[in-house]
C-alpha cells in the first residue's frame, strides 16, 4: 500500500499502522503540521501534558504497564531538551519508547534558528538510536524502523527528528510491511551448549538461587509464566531486582523478596552464600552487587541476557547465555525435563533451612507508633487495603520508593512502574497518568515523597483534564528523606538543604486543580483515609504526614558486600567507611 501524502499525514498514518492508540505530547511551532493532522482524525488519542518531561514519563508508564511502546510527540528546541530526562530514564530501564520531535526546516538547520537545538546530537548518547529525517520520501520507513529498533532486542527509547519542511512536503507512504528493514536483528535463541551447561549446574547445585530482573518483564508475560514454572519445578529460591518485581509472585513460597542495597536480609545473604547464581535478565547493577570484589564469592554464575554487552560488564560469568529470556527459559525447562527433572534435593533442603533462619531475623520489622504514622506502617496498610484490587503502583525516587518495594506485594508483571537505573525524582506522577490512560478502570496509585512529587506537580492539570482517577499517595516527611539519611550516615548529621521548606497546603493545592485532597496524620485515621482515597471516583492527592526521621533499612552501606547489612536502628558512626563515602 503505497500512496502520496504529506509528511505530517505520514506520521499519523505510520503511527496508526504501528497500532498506536495513544500519544503523549505538547505542541509547538515545529510540529504544527502534525498537530493539524491529529486534529483531523480519531484513531489516535492525544494526551496533552503540561511539560515535555511529563510526556516521556507518562509514555514510560504506558509502555511498562502494557508491554507496548510509548509514543511521545514534542516540538523542537526546548520541547526536545525537556524530554531528555525521560528519554535517558527509558534507556536506563530498557523501556520501549518512540519520541517524535519537531525540528526547524532543513534549510534553517545550523543557523541557530528560533527554537533550534541539535536534537540528534543531544539525544545520541541517551537513545538506543535516533534519526534526522531529511526528506519526506524516507519518513515513513524511518518511523517503521524506529518502532522496530525500540521494541526488538533490549528495548529502549528512539528519537525521530522531523524538520518542519519535511512535514509539509509530499512523498510516497510505505506501510510497515513494504518498508525496508535494516539489518538490526538481535539474537533471540540461546546457545544450546550453554543452556545444557546451565541445566547440568541446576542438577547438581547445593545452594542455588534465581536472581531475576527487568529483562523478564520486558520479555513478556510468557517469560514470567515460564520463570514461575521453572522455580516451582526446581524448588530453588528466587530474588529479584527493583525492576523485576512481579515476574514471580510475592505470595509464592520460593520468594525471598527484593535484593540489593535496601533489599531483604534473606535475599542478600542467600546471594552471598549461594553456589549457583542464575541471573535471568538482570545486569549486576551497583545497587545489587555492593563491593564487587566480595560479591557472592563462592558461586558459579549463569547470566541470561539479550544484550551481549551486559555479559561480563561488571561481574564475570561462568555460563553466559545471550538470548531472549522467554526463549531461553523455555529451552532450559525442556532440556531439564528431558534429562529427568533432577535436582540435589537433600542439599536443597539444607539450603532452605539456612534461608529460613535468615528469614526469622524479620528484617522488615519496625517499631510502630501510636502518635505518628510510620512510613512503613502506611505502606503496610496500603498493601492490606488495596491488594485485592486490580492495582498498578508507581513511585517517585527515594526512601518511599524502597519502602514501597519492601512492603507492597507484586503478584503479576507490568504492575510496578518505578525509575530504577536513572533514579528520576518526578517520574511517578506522570507515569501514573500514563498507566491510568492505558488502564482506565484500574486502581493506579503513585507512592510518592513530597519532594519528588513536587518536581512534576504541573501534571495535575493533565490528570484533571482527562478525568484520570490517579491516587497520589504522598508520604510527607518534610525532608528529602534519602538525602537526609545519607547525611546522617556520612556527613556528621549536617543536614545541608535536605528539608522541604515552604511546602504547599496539599489539600488546597488538590482542590485548586479539581483533585480531592486528604490529609492524615493520626495513625488511627489512616485506614479510613486510604479507603476514602480508593473509593473516590476521581484523582486524589493524599498528604500522609509521616515520621520525619525514619531511616530506610535494611541497608548495605556503599562499598560493603552483601553480608555486611545494617539492620534495625543504625548508628551514624562507622556505617560508611571512607572508601564507601565516594560512592553514591
Amino acid at each position: 500500500m503505497t500512496r502520496k501524502m504529506t509528511g505530517a499525514k505520514m506520521v499519523v498514518q505510520a503511527l496508526l499502522d504501528q497500532g498506536v492508540d495513544t500519544v503523549f505530547g505538547y505542541p509547538g511551532g515545529a510540529v504544527l503540521p502534525i498537530y493539524d493532522e491529529i486534529f483531523q482524525q480519531e484513531g489516535i488519542r492525544h494526551i496533552l501534558v503540561r511539560h515535555e518531561q511529563g510526556a516521556t514519563h507518562a509514555a514510560e508508564g504506558y509502555a511498562r504497564s502494557t508491554g507496548k511502546p510509548g509514543v511521545v510527540l514534542v516540538t523542537s528546541g526546548p520541547g526536545a531538551t525537556n524530554a531528555v530526562t525521560g528519554i535517558t530514564d527509558a534507556l536506563m530501564d530498557s523501556i520501549p519508547m518512540v519520541v517524535l520531535t519537531g525540528q526547524v526546516p532543513t534549510f534553517a538547520i545550523g543557523s541557530d534558528a528560533f527554537q533550534e537545538a541539535d536534537t540528534v546530537g543531544i539525544t545520541r548518547p541517551c537513545t538506543k538510536h535516533n534519526w534526522l529525517v531529511k526528506d519526506t520520501e524516507s519518513l515513513s520507513q524511518t518511523i517503521h524502523e524506529a518502532f522496530h529498533v525500540a521494541t526488538s532486542g533490549r528495548p529502549g527509547p528512539v528519537v525521530v527528528d522531523l524538520p518542519k519542511d519535511v512535514q509539509f512536503a509530499t512523498g510516497t507512504y510505505h506501510g510497515p510491511r513494504e518498508a525496508r528493514r535494516s539489518h538490526y536483528a538481535p539474537q533471540i535463541k540461546g546457545d544450546m551448549e550453554a543452556i545444557t551447561a546451565l541445566v547440568e549446574a541446576i542438577e547438581t547445585a547445593e545452594k542455588p538461587i534465581f536472581y531475576t530482573g527487568g529483562g523478564v518483564i520486558n520479555s513478556g508475560p510468557a517469560a514470567s509464566q515460564l520463570l514461575r514454572e521453572l522455580v516451582e519445578a526446581t524448588g530453588f529460591p528466587i530474588t529479584s531486582t527493583l525492576m523485576g518485581l512481579g515476574a514471580y509472585p510475592a505470595s509464592g513460597d520460593k520468594w525471598l523478596g527484593m535484593l540489593g542495597m535496601h533489599g531483604l536480609y534473606e535475599a542478600n545473604l542467600a546471594m552471598h552464600g549461594c553456589d549457583l547464581m542464575i541471573n535471568v535478565g538482570a545486569r549486576f547493577d551497583d545497587r545489587i552487587t555492593g563491593r564487587v570484589s566480595d560479591f557472592s564469592p563462592k558461586s558459579k554464575r549463569a547470566h541470561i541476557d539479550i544484550d551481549p554487552s551486559s555479559i561480563n560488564k561488571v561481574i564475570r560469568t561462568d555460563i553466559p547465555i545471550i538470548g531472549d529470556v522467554g526463549h531461553v527459559l523455555e529451552d532450559v525447562l525442556r532440556v531439564w525435563k528431558s534429562r529427568g527433572r533432577r535436582v540435589n534435593g537433600e542439599a536443597l533442603a539444607k539450603w532452605w533451612n539456612r534461608i529460613e533462619a535468615w528469614r526469622d531475623v524479620d528484617c522488615l520489622a519496625f517499631k510502630p507508633s501510636e502518635k505518628t504514622i510510620k512510613p512503613q506502617h502506611a505502606l503496610a496498610r496500603l498493601e492490606a487495603l488495596t491488594k485485592d484490587h486490580d492495582r498498578y503502583i508507581c513511585t517517585e525516587v527515594g526512601q518511599h520508593q524502597m519502602w514501597a518495594a519492601q512492603y507492597l506485594g507484586f503478584e503479576a508483571p507490568n504492575r510496578w512502574m518505578t525509575s530504577g537505573g536513572l533514579g528520576t525524582m518526578g517520574y511517578g506522577f506522570p507515569a501514573s497518568i500514563g498507566v491510568q490512560v492505558a488502564h482506565p478502570d484500574a486502581l493506579v496509585i503513585n507512592v510518592a515523597g513530597e519532594a519528588s512529587w513536587l518536581m512534576n506537580m504541573q501534571e495535575m492539570g493533565t490528570a484533571a483534564q482527562y478525568r484520570l482517577p490517579v491516587k497520589q499517595f504522598i508520604l510527607n516527611n518534610e525532608r528529602l528523606g534519602m538525602v537526609r539519611q545519607w547525611q546522617q550516615l556520612l556527613h556528621g548529621e549536617r543536614y545541608s538543604h535536605s528539608w522541604s521548606e515552604a511546602l504547599p497546603d496539599f489539600v488546597k493545592l488538590a482542590e485548586a486543580f479539581g483533585f480531592k485532597g486528604i490529609q492524615v496524620k493520626d495513625p488511627s485515621d489512616l485506614d479510613d483515609a486510604i479507603r476514602e482515597m480508593i473509593e473516590h471516583d476521581g484523582p486524589v492527592l493524599m498528604d500522609c504526614l509521616v515520621e520525619k526521621h525514619e531511616n530506610c533499612l535494611p541497608m548495605i552501606p556503599s562499598g560493603e558486600p552483601h553480608n555486611k547489612m545494617l539492620l534495625g536502628e543504625m548508628t551514624a558512626k562507622d556505617a560508611i567507611g571512607s572508601k564507601g563515602a565516594v560512592l553514591v
Binding site: 545520541r124 534526522l132 551481549p308 554487552s309 555479559i311 561480563n312
Partner: protein, 191 residues
C-alpha cells in the same frame, strides 16, 4: 609427558586464547568495524568511547562500499582484556554496526599507515633527509628549493621512526592517516 609450560598471554597468535580474562595488563587491539554510512555514525562510535571512558589511539574511517553505503572504521584502542571485550560488545549493539572484528586476536593481520612529512632546510640537512627518505622508500611528492614533502607508507612504528629521524633535519609538519588494517589470508573477518 610433562605438560607444556605455557605462560598465559605469552602469544597472541596461539590457537587458544591464553589471555587471562582477569588480567589487569593493558593491551592494544585493532578493531575493524563495518557500519552503515549514515549521518552521525562516526559521532556515535566516538561518543561511545568518550562516554564510557575508553581510549582511542588511532581512528581511520572511509566509505568502502558506495552502493551498499558502508564504511569501515579501524580503531586502535587499549584496555584490559575485560575492557576490550566490553568495547567490542558495546560497538556490536550499535544499530548501524554490521560487524566488529578484533584483528589482534583473530589471527595475523597487516597494518599500514600513510603519512606526509614536510621537511624544510638547506645544504647537508637537505641531502641527508633525501638520503634517509630513500632508505625508507618514501617518495617525494612536492619539492621546492627549501623543502620536501615525503610520502611514506608502513607500519606505525616505521612512520614513527622516520619522523624521529626527520625532526633534527627540519621536520616542520606531519600528517598521518591512522591505521588501515586487514587480516592476512583468504578469509574475510568482516563479511
Amino acid at each position: 609427558m610433562p605438560p607444556l609450560k605455557i605462560k598465559k598471554g605469552s602469544s597472541k597468535h596461539s590457537a587458544y586464547d591464553l589471555r587471562d580474562p582477569n588480567a589487569e595488563v593493558l593491551e592494544a587491539h585493532t578493531l575493524a568495524v563495518v557500519v552503515d554510512n549514515e549521518a552521525g555514525v562516526l559521532a556515535r562510535v566516538i561518543g561511545l568511547f568518550s562516554g564510557r571512558g575508553y581510549n582511542i589511539e588511532s581512528l581511520t574511517v572511509a566509505e568502502i562500499d558506495h552502493e551498499g553505503r558502508r564504511s569501515r572504521i579501524t580503531i586502535v584502542t587499549t584496555g584490559t582484556p575485560q575492557v576490550i571485550e566490553q568495547i567490542k560488545a558495546q560497538l556490536g549493539r550499535l544499530v548501524p554496526v554490521y560487524s566488529v572484528a578484533d584483528l589482534t586476536v583473530e589471527g595475523p593481520s597487516v597494518q599500514r599507515e600513510l603519512a606526509l612529512f614536510k621537511v624544510a632546510g638547506q645544504g647537508d640537512k637537505r641531502v641527508e633527509a633525501l638520503r634517509l627518505a630513500d632508505i625508507f622508500r618514501a617518495s617525494v611528492v612536492d619539492s621546492t628549493l627549501e623543502s620536501f614533502v615525503f610520502e611514506l607508507t608502513g607500519t606505525p612504528e616505521k612512520i614513527g621512526a622516520f619522523a624521529d629521524l626527520m625532526r633534527p633535519l627540519g621536520l616542520i609538519e606531519v600528517a598521518r592517516t591512522g591505521i588501515a588494517a586487514l587480516a592476512r589470508g583468504a578469509q574475510s573477518e568482516t563479511a
